[in-house]
Symmetry: C4
Subunit: 485 residues, 4 copies
């Protein structure tokens, strides 16, 4: 295998010829520049240089093999160059944010002090690098939908029943025929390794230990195979969240790959076809720049104004999606590609819930992508309530799931009373694995199980199927902000 | 009676053999470990040691006699051991929280400066040991129901009538046939001695002086007999709040005991069968630990993670309840056990109000346990309003009481206009006796009487029976937070 | 005239014999003790002493003549005693609150900087002695009704009409046949001299200059005659707000007195028969005591607990009212006593508005006493809206006024669109005269006139009678708190 | 041309003879005093003096020629006087506010950091002189309508459609037949030069570069001709916002002038006939006076009280308007004056929308003048919703526009779904040109285009005409204040 010096690599930094170094290997990425989901500029910024630190945490290990033709794997750095890189890495002064994180990690609370979902979120936000926090936490525009997703649950109150036998209360149910210990699944979300070196594997292992189901994102930071291999047994069900590539063949290849790996369902995501406006994420580089400088967050207007619009971490992930999917074309195509059950993720109005059910989809997720795409999309629990009122037949035609804004066992139970079969949490599990790895995931699932079981007993039910619409009421007032006394 | 040394006792600290010292007496509690309502670990933590300080404030004086067989009352400490314990107690450095309370007690306001219910609560919270405050004040999950219980009253406005003769306005009424000076009773709540050495006796004596009725909790910190003996006269009515033990015979024994002691009614509690999530209570040990250390409330993650989940003071009180009670089985059983009137406490929906009335119960309490059990249970005044609208026949079949969120005489009057016969306050009286003992209880009742009388005169009524539904309106807006100008 | 020494007076300080000194004169008030509206203790606190400073600001000049029989006007202090009192007065150290007011008065803003009603209130509150501020500003219980009175207006929006000729827009109208320059009157409120030495006279003169009408309170701090004499001309209309004494003859005497003095209407107040709970007022003595001491507002609990409940300034004013008035008895009685038009002030529900109209009253005031009596009485503009919807015939049978919560010309116009003939402001004029005397009253009236005229032009109307219900809409949302940008 | 000395000019400072100096020229403005829109006092304050600094930023360059007869252009200052003025100007100590602005300008953020409309507003407010900020930002009374204009949008949520082909999504549409790149126009607002020396020209050039349409205010700070000349091509459409002078001939002259200059439509403003109460603007001189003094904002009450009521910058602009316009008289008159399409700006109720449509107007603007005139005028998007529900025929009879409260692309799309053809922004573009000149205007338009395009794709539409009422729902709750996470 040929070797290169840093100087040699440094000459290739344009669209005409662009090389990068990753883990001491040299790649010619010229042909890939315009196929990169994040656009060419993201790569060109590292043209002719070592890109390892930026690349590794957000790409699965098989990404280079999948995307860069073998002949473009040019070779390795020579020894002197390796030593030079290594020295540079050691000499690098830690950023203020890195130092902040180091301090935060030292005072991380004992896991037993985390007693609810919000504790987990708050703890993780302190421990995460700012950019990772910004990517995980950000939502669209003014975060109205993000905030209302959670707040909507607070308008639903219970009609608990008393004097009913509840001993032996059982929280288990099924999702697409697979057993789950509680009616909660881990919703697919990108880039778990931003928060923890083991990334998605923490979720897989935690799911196994607690008997719940994980959905894996197209944008996972580990390869689909690595995640599948982390399962506790071959029976452990995992699902796949699909961003359909605009090229049907590329898309089909991805589906066949995960089917072969043992994934049990395809969750086709239809609410995130184009990059959205997530301002916390967009502003993160500005924030860090100012934080390092220790100066006023505003620049001297004489400074050179850059041309490129900065899109944040999120920007690069939603590219090359098929923006022309239709019920007529896409559902038959996917049926022809796989035998796996198909679930539409991102249903945001009653009419589309009906269309999905009529199209024979095995399930739908009432979801607005956690408030990260179109602001002022209805909160899922409000949509669920509308489906219940206007088209209750949908519940008998397809499994209905919701995600977005769930923080408590009571939220889960409200959704189930209204007809949801399962409830997904995304960010919460990301935060749990970021802060405590696999143990955090297990702990979070157990908190939810405790809350769900208590709620069922208090409602007077012994099993999930006894949760009925008569047990919830949408009140006509808005509770004040809760205090966790 | 045999005597023991501290060293001898210290050898018995496991489930195989567990001894404890209480008031210089030695008990073998091995057989009782798993019957303890709070679970065995709570006792094992004191295995082989003196448990007096932890035990006394939260157990009635007859608890040892009732629960520990006579032959397990082993004997006494010898003189040297007593002196050693006594010296250890004297040498014990006061905790920061104890020192804080000492300062607070010195600046306790004159009772005459307490002019409303909220003054009493705020004052008591400053005077109480943190753990007691946390137990009294805590509510479920995010305290939504706790907060909304009170806030719901603010959506009910009056239609006061003018030009009606109101001289000689009389606030008295009856509850289960017993006369009461105002339509307010002291609702049963556990562990009054956490707040004041005389505990429930303050309530009994204050109730006597002001002509109101006390309900005594199954979890009272004095024995049912001690409380009954504190009555001002044998005619003073007291009621009993019952947690039904899962063992029918144990439960029946308890009912027969209080009937013999002269209690006049059984309030069967049906909304608190299993321990709930009260986070202020749960976090109290963490809070105090950090407060003593004077350090950051977060631990170094290297610290040993404990295995036991800490449940707070509340955890131990709701155990061994009968979680399989039903209308069909339990009501006839209790009728067969006692001649006392039966009231169901913890009705949370219209349907169950109807069932209770049809089951022939003499009364029902619309209550969600002060927001301490299932969060998002409807505020009782909202439920009362629903019963009034949907099933007004309930009011003619059974006496309807409510508790939860009452802070003002106007709250009481709103409930009575809607059909409630009486209104219960729990925490408020706990706070009053904690801060000022019996005088506080008397003062609180007089504040309420003054407010109720003024409200009746201002509504244009001379007697309780003139309060009618037409005098209240549920408005469609939410008042802003009130200011006590 | 006999003279007395301080020592002689000092011997008479009990209910058996009680003398007081007022303006160097000696009165035997023994017989009057239990007729005093504020109760005997208020006088006994000054028994045998000089009561001038406490007495003068809150009693009209004819009060001694009216209430103390001539033979009880015992005589005067001798010269030495007068000098002693005078010296004591001079030597008296100013209280902290007096010093605070002195500073505040020095930085009083120019009147031209007061550009709206709220400016006036905020300015006056800084300038007033604490006790006066507390009496003026206080409201019942938690001030819900006080706050909602104003907030309710914010739910009414306009349907302004454009392309209508509005030149020569005229804001004048009539009240009980008397011309007024704007549809706003000065509502009766007690004790104007707490805020300014000229007291109610400021209101009378300001009303004259701006062509508006003043209602005088039974509890005015000047005599009814002094106020009548301050009129700019004999034609200037003034109205009388009546608290009916429980003794019919005493009440009739008062009515005949004001009729003879030229008052033009009787506003019988029916919403304030008994003293209410105004906590700011009640706590004022505590506040001042602590402020002077410069210590923690909490007392050592060892301090002697006083027996008397302190009621604040308000307490003494609502005593001896007739609490047994009825439509059947009282209206005919008052008709038999006077020829003046009768207006019922304090109507708080639709049913009573109808009864008053049917009883032939010339007017009604939808009022809850500015939120100072029963908390949770409906905001008057909400009640007005209900009358408009449920019983619009009332508007054709009697003149309907409202008071409570008016802050802007737009508030006035909303009330007029809904059917009110006039709108009253009480506190606002008290604040204006307190801060700037007569000039403040004139300025306030002109601010309102400017706002009303602008509002009429913007609604497309030229005269008051063109304001119609179609021009307002009650919206189903609650505006956020306004910002005065 | 004759020359004058400062001393000579200084003699003419009364209504009898009033001269002023502007750009070293001397004008006799005696005859014009009472024709001045802001009233005579504004000029008299500069009588006999140099008025250049106050005059130039708020008057178009042709104002002197239009308003002062040629013979009153008396001549020029002599050389010595010019030097004296110039020296005085140089010697003038900068005000605190000028110094504050100088600092603020130095830390102006890079334009690329401005990522939404609110960023632009916040940035501009820091950079603007206080008086200019106060004039731009101020709203009527308590700003209820100003605040609710924006807040109302938050009650409208989307029903996004998925699985619809959206590639090639096109944001362009037409307004009165003129092409526009996005459904947003620049609404006319006065005095752009308060914020930037190039004033309205920044808007004209920015509009050209981004393909949007500008409406020019009657009170523009540049002449209508200067603005027309700044167009990028003769085809660039510009519209004219008309305040109709009470004198028909003066009004007609103005209309004919702009028609001749190539303006393409007349927007007759009917909601701002008389000066309103804008308190931020009114208080600006007080604020600055206190800021300079560095003292307490309150004056010693001994200070001389001025007689003149200060009206702020806004006061002078709304004078001499025709307050007697009617549908019957004014529409035919304007039709007889011009061939341009007529749009009524300031429709505030459904009834007037219908009247305008029936009167044959080519368009209407549902507007309340940005909340600057009558407080409690309905938010335009609420009015739009009412028109849609009650009189949908209006949309087929005339083009309907709205302005007021638009901050996001989602706001624009909600209005279009409900039937609006275009949406206007006023303040936002003023802020943009104030902070960054033409580049700011371009940047703002591009932000809106990005947000609108993303919103359309997310709603599942490819073109503006696919936006339909079914895509929005007015929810019955009020979202919490948004956080821009």
């Amino acid at each position: 295998m040929p070797t290169y010096t840093l100087a040699q690599v440094a000459e290739h930094k344009t669209t005409a010829s662009c090389w990068v170094i990753i883990r001491n290997k040299v790649y010619d990425v010229t042909d890939f520049l315009f196929d990169h989901p994040g656009g060419p500029q993201v790569i060109l910024d590292f043209g002719g240089q070592d890109a390892t630190a930026a690349y590794v945490p957000i790409h699965p290990s098989d990404a280079l093999d999948k995307n860069i033709a073998p002949e473009k794997h040019l070779g390795e750095l020579d020894g002197a160059s390796r030593r030079e890189l290594s020295k540079a890495k050691n000499d690098k002064v830690k950023s203020k944010d890195e130092l902040r994180v180091e301090v935060a990690v030292k005072s991380r609370p004992l896991l037993s002090r985390i007693i609810n979902v919000q504790d987990m979120e708050e703890t993780a936000k302190k421990l995460l690098p700012y950019k990772a926090m910004a990517y995980y936490a950000s939502a669209a525009d003014d975060s109205i939908t993000h905030i209302e997703n959670a707040r909507a649950f607070s308008r639903f109150f219970f009609h608990p029943r008393v004097m009913r036998a509840v001993s032996g209360c059982d929280t288990s149910t099924t999702m697409l025929g697979h057993k789950t210990s509680i009616p909660v699944y881990i919703s697919g979300s990108a880039l778990a390794r931003l928060g923890h070196p083991l990334g998605e594997i923490n979720l897989t292992r935690g799911a196994y230990k607690t008997g719940i189901i994980q959905m894996v994102s197209t944008n996972a930071s580990l390869s689909y195979g690595q995640i599948a291999s982390a399962r506790g047994s071959p029976d452990q069900p995992i699902f796949f969240q699909l961003y359909k590539h605009k090229n049907d063949e590329t898309a089909a290849k991805r589906i066949r790959e995960v089917e072969a790996l043992g994934y049990k369902a395809i969750f086709l995501t239809v609410d995130a076809l184009v990059p959205s406006n997530r301002e916390l994420d967009t502003r993160a580089p500005h924030y860090l720049e100012d934080f390092e400088k220790g100066v006023n967050p505003q620049h001297n207007s004489q400074a050179k104004e850059g041309e490129t619009e900065i899109l944040g971490t999120a920007g690069g992930l939603i590219i090359n999606n098929d923006v022309d999917m239709t019920w007529e074309r896409t559902i038959p195509w996917i049926r022809g590609t796989t035998k796996l059950p198909i679930v539409i993720k991102g249903i945001q109005c009653v009419a589309d819930a009906v269309l999905a059910a009529e199209a024979g989809c095995e399930g739908i997720v009432l979801s607005n992508h956690g408030g990260r795409q179109l602001d002022y999309s209805l909160p899922p629990v409000e949509l669920l309530y509308k489906v219940r009122k206007e088209r209750p037949d949908v519940f008998s035609k397809t499994e209905v799931y919701i995600d977005g804004g769930i923080r408590r066992g009571t939220d889960v139970l409200k959704a189930l009373c209204l007809g949801a079969k399962m409830v997904g949490l995304g960010r919460a599990f990301l935060y749990a694995q970021s802060a405590y790895g696999e143990a955090g995931v297990v702990h979070l699932a157990r908190i939810l199980q405790r809350e769900i079981k208590f709620g069922m007993e208090s409602l007077g039910v012994r099993s999930i199927d006894q949760l009925v619409p008569e047990m919830v009421e949408r009140v006509d007032w808005q509770p004040a902000v809760g205090a966790r006394l």
